[in-house]
Amino acid sequence: MDKTNTLKITIVGDVAAGKTWLWQSYFQNRKPPYVQTMFDNYSTSVLYNGQEVLISLFEMCGDEEYAELRKVIYPGTNVVILCIAVDNPESVAKSGNFGSLERWSLELKDNCKGIPIVIVGTKKDLRGDPVVLRRLGENKLKPLKYKDIIKATKKFKNAIALDCSSISKDGVQDVFKAVVKLGLRNKSYNK
């Protein structure tokens, strides 16, 4: 196989944002248990425009404590997937610096310069969930809309916004299509 068709994809995002769900539901067609992932690695091949692309996924725990450890997996990345849970609007907090999005933008700026970022709003199906709405309503918050995720891309240089639901598999394919497309483009630029 041609070497150029190998992509390294790094998945980051807040804790319990649905990072593991995103790829496991698509590639392995299974629902992962509620377990904190430390580090996971998966590689598979997909067909894109008639050519075979080998992608290797790297997933790393999104805990603040692991920031040092996370630096290890960034080098050589072609695309970064940043997951934002729709039912966790605090991550795009209005009070500026304390939102986790800010943290991610700093971390990615440091470690992945010039690498395309796909910001994915996960758990899209929870937007209308009454339980979530009630929980957020207590703090006068609302689930994130697609508009908010597009707004979030402004904090990054090279980012696109998408949203999906891993349970209903709504939009997951689009996410990975975009990821492979951006990855291949990034690779050809770097050549």
Partner: protein, 680 residues
């Protein structure tokens, strides 16, 4: 007390030097007079200006008196007669000189012989033969030229050689500044060498001293730097002969020593100090300990005399004071005072004192009970003492770090009976304090003591370590033991001042846990979902400000994730993690060797400091309650351990160590309910 710079009076008064300057200035108008003046700095400290040798020829009566060189420094002293002796005024023509020409050659011959013999003896004295040889060659040249009434070319050659020689010795730093120097001088007058016998110098010197003291003081002030008071190689006996009056001082050299020695007489005793100069610029002087630097030698001697005088007069007074304070002066094995139970409790059983042979040991030990475990003196190890009693007594002991702060005048010893607190000692300016300068500071309560005052700590009111929670500069990022102590002390004084309180976990932990359990541990992803950074920071500030009286409940608005994040943050910020580094590394080792069982784990956990033990126990009980609700909150022990491991164990981690740490903690968490980790 007079300060008299006792220089060998090569320049008996100030008039001599100007004549030299003037004379050389007249012979070579191209050179500014200032450079021609003999600068005591330049040649006495080892940089012989090449023009110096020219000056030798120029000055009517100039003789190298002393050539000493232990360290590659060429030192030549000059004798310049006072103006009364020199009857040739400046700008005089050569008539007066030529009159004495017939005697000149004889003089030169005797001169040369004397000098040669001197150089030979010098060669015996000094190990560095090359210098002596060079000097010999130089002198040969010198006299050769003198004899044959040299023409200009030869003297130029001589100049060049001289330059080379000196460059070799003194480094390239000194430029050949004398190149334009016109050396063709036919009117040298050299006196027979005299004065390298110390006795002659002494008599001469003393006469000068007696004749006009005031003048001498002036000259000594003028000659700042080593210049005139530098005496080259001098033995102690010679020094003793030289220094006859209190307050006289001189600088000398001793074979085999790099430093110069300042000797001065005070109270009839000659004191010797090794002095150092600022290596580059020779502007500052300081003694060996580098405590203070002085701009000039006079200043240094002044200061020294003052302190010595004070010591002489006030010494006995201070000594009696010291005796009164019953300070043991002899430096014996330092007792590292650890224990004493609170004053309210007088049972001797709950005391455990640790003695450590070397005074440096305590500062190495990160934890008091590690100190115990390392104890080699055959004292009862921690395992044999009842665990609770040991914990309590240890929590009331000081933890001293040695030599952490320099006890100067600013922060005196806290002990009330310390002699350094007496007024007399403070008056003396803190010089030579009767107690050692070594200090120790308690890490927990900030008690500052002299090392030797430690022995008297038992009787003082500071015997128990009682840090004040509200006086501590911070809570987050402070050692766990300190906070536990402070929490204990505060609760003790607030609630029941008499009884000994149970060691409690730090108030941050208890407050957080109470709050979490109030909101409910059933929340999904408790401890896993990151809280709002904003709320965490606010709560942290609240705790730092209000300490024990802080009311978290009003602040949290049922945001359980933020409280969990706060607890995790507190644990993460601990300088020594909850499961301390050495305990964790031992657990890891056991696991790698596949011998990690519950029993070995319990053994290892006993090594934890008591404060850590108490806190870990409390938190494990709480986390067990969290895991019990696994069905609702989805946090199994496996999950929880992975979430908590980075906050609980050491901060430097790799993937494998995280995995292993999570496994170990998982094991601890699963079994904390069924297995007694804390029993014997």
């Amino acid at each position: 007390m007079t300060l008299v710079g006792l220089g060998l009076p090569m320049i008996p008064d100030n008039n001599a030097r100007p004549t030299v300057c003037a004379r050389s200035a007249t012979t070579t108008p191209s050179r500014p007079p200032s450079t021609l003046a003999i600068r005591p700095h330049t040649y006495a400290i080892g940089k012989v200006p090449a023009c110096f040798f020219e000056l030798l020829k120029q000055i009517p009566i100039a003789i190298p008196v002393r050539c000493s060189d232990p360290t590659g420094i060429i030192r030549l002293s000059l004798h310049i007669p006072s103006s009364s002796e020199v009857d040739t005024p400046e700008g005089h023509d050569l008539d007066g000189d030529t009159d004495k020409d017939d005697t000149l050659e004889q003089r030169l011959l005797t001169n040369r012989r004397l000098l040669e013999s001197r150089i030979k003896s010098l060669r015996l004295e000094i190990g560095d033969l090359s210098v002596a040889e060079n000097l010999e060659k130089l002198c040969n040249h010198y006299f050769h030229l003198d004899k044959n009434n040299p023409n200009k070319e030869r003297s130029d050659e001589f100049n060049r050689k001289l330059d080379m020689l000196l460059n070799e010795k003194c480094g390239g730093e000194r430029k050949s500044c004398h190149e334009k120097w016109d050396a063709s001088t036919s009117h040298e007058k050299i006196d027979p060498i005299r004065g390298h016998e110390p006795s002659k110098l002494v008599t001469f010197d003393l006469n000068a001293q007696k004749s006009d003291d005031d003048d001498d003081v002036k000259t000594s002030r003028h000659s700042s730097g080593f210049g005139l008071i530098f005496h080259g190689l001098l033995s102690k006996k010679e020094t003793q002969n030289l220094l006859r009056i209190d307050g006289q001082y001189l600088i000398r050299h001793v074979l085999g020593e790099e430093a110069y020695i300042l000797s001065f007489r005070c109270n009839g005793i000659i004191q010797n100090f090794r002095i150092f100069k600022d290596s580059e610029f020779y502007d500052l002087f300081y003694l060996e300990d580098r405590k203070a630097s002085y701009a000039s030698l006079d200043e240094m001697v002044n200061d020294g005399l003052r302190t010595l005088f004070l010591n002489f007069r006030a010494g006995s007074y201070v000594d009696t004071l010291t005796e009164l304070a019953q300070i043991n002066k002899h430096d014996s094995m330092i007792s590292w005072l650890t224990s004493s139970s609170p004053t309210s409790l007088n049972s001797p059983d709950s005391r455990a004192s640790i003695y450590i042979g070397s005074s440096r040991r305590p500062s190495v030990n990160p934890h008091p009970n590690q100190g115990q475990s390392q104890d080699e003196d055959g004292l009862p190890p921690i395992e044999t003492t009842p665990p609770l009693g040991a914990e309590e007594s240890e929590l009331f002991t000081h933890f001293f770090l040695l030599g952490t702060r320099d006890l100067g005048k600013r922060s005196p010893c806290d002990l009330e009976s310390c002699p350094s607190r007496s007024r007399a000692c403070l008056l003396r300016g803190g010089a030579n304090p009767p107690v050692g300068k070594e200090t120790c500071v308690c890490r927990d309560c900030g008690l500052t003591l002299h090392e030797k005052c430690l022995e008297h700590l038992d009787e003082s009111k500071f015997a128990t370590c009682m840090p004040d929670l509200y006086k501590m500069p911070a809570i987050f990022g402070v050692d766990l033991t300190t906070v536990v102590k402070a929490t204990m002390v505060t609760s003790m004084t607030e609630e029941d001042p008499v009884s000994i309180p149970e060691p409690t976990p730090p108030f941050v932990v208890t407050k957080c846990v109470q709050e979490i359990e109030r909101i409910g541990v059933t929340s999904e992803g408790i401890y896993r979902i990151s809280g709002s950074q904003d709320a965490v920071l606010k709560m942290q500030k609240l705790l730092e400000r209000d300490r024990m009286s802080a009311d978290l409940a009003a602040f949290t608005s049922n945001d359980i994730d933020s409280v969990c994040a706060l607890l995790k943050l507190y644990l993460r910020l601990l300088p020594e993690p909850l499961i301390s580094r050495d305990v964790f590394s031992k657990l890891m080792e056991d696991r790698q060797n596949n011998i990690l069982t519950l029993t070995t784990m319990r053994q290892t956990l006993t090594l934890l400091p008591p404060a850590h033990k108490v806190t870990l126990r409390y938190l494990l009980a709480h986390w067990d309650r969290v895991v019990a609700q696994e069905d609702v909150n989805k946090m199994s022990s496996h999950n929880l351990s992975r979430v908590l491991v980075p906050s609980i164990v050491a901060d430097t981690m790799t993937l494998t160590s995280i995995d292993m740490g999570a496994h170990i903690f998982d094991m601890l968490l699963t079994n904390c309910n069924t297995f007694d980790f804390w029993g014997q």
